[in-house]
Assembly symmetry: C2
């Protein structure tokens, strides 16, 4: 199950509720109860979601009396963006190479470039 860090992060964000919590936490830290408020689920379910986010490194929890303020750890996003950007770039380069091929094609299939003398 989700052995590597990247899998854990993607998996954690695959759930709309958890993404919503991340959105909420981007505004500022919050307690479990505060985070649970908008959703129609038990506090335990929210606690579980937070555990998943924590295991993914997206979130950290500290202690304030009985409260457990939750804090967003935005650095982990870099892991994802790095992965994504790498392959996006690779794919784009491939398209560019394809463009070169098309550009190098015989003129008769690319007539729009200039006025060739018609035969």
């Amino acid at each position: 199950m989700a052995a590597d860090a990247l899998s854990r992060v993607f998996s954690a964000l695959a759930d709309p509720t958890r993404r919503d919590m991340v959105a909420r936490l981007a505004v500022g830290d919050a307690t479990v109860n505060e985070l649970a408020a908008p959703y129609d689920v038990s506090l335990q379910a929210v606690s579980k979601h937070l555990r998943v986010l924590e295991d993914a490194g997206l979130v950290s929890r500290s202690r304030d009396a009985q409260r457990r303020p939750v804090h967003l750890e935005a650095q982990v996003f870099d892991l994802m963006t790095k992965w994504i950007e790498r392959y996006r770039r690779e794919a784009e380069q491939r398209y560019r190479r394809l463009d070169d091929v098309l550009a190098a094609m015989p003129d008769d299939v690319t007539p729009t470039r200039g006025q060739e003398s018609p035969s």
Copy 2:
């Protein structure tokens, strides 16, 4: 399940095998058999993975005789990066704001949440 597009994309990339396939496809299109080669799983399992990637919009399949070349659709990456960047930026702004507050704080003020203990 996984009603929204974003969930489908994150969920699809949460699997290491599928991420690996995306990596492979960034280099160039491939058939199902070619994609299956590196992995020690049945062709059917690979077919299932491709279906997940296709449902997420990460991949498209065309036809070439009996072969079904698989093509990476890199535009979907934008969906993720947009989401990520939004909250990353929001969190960063918050840190900047926090820095301002800390900078504006008198030196002797130590924020304590507990009650001030009388001597």
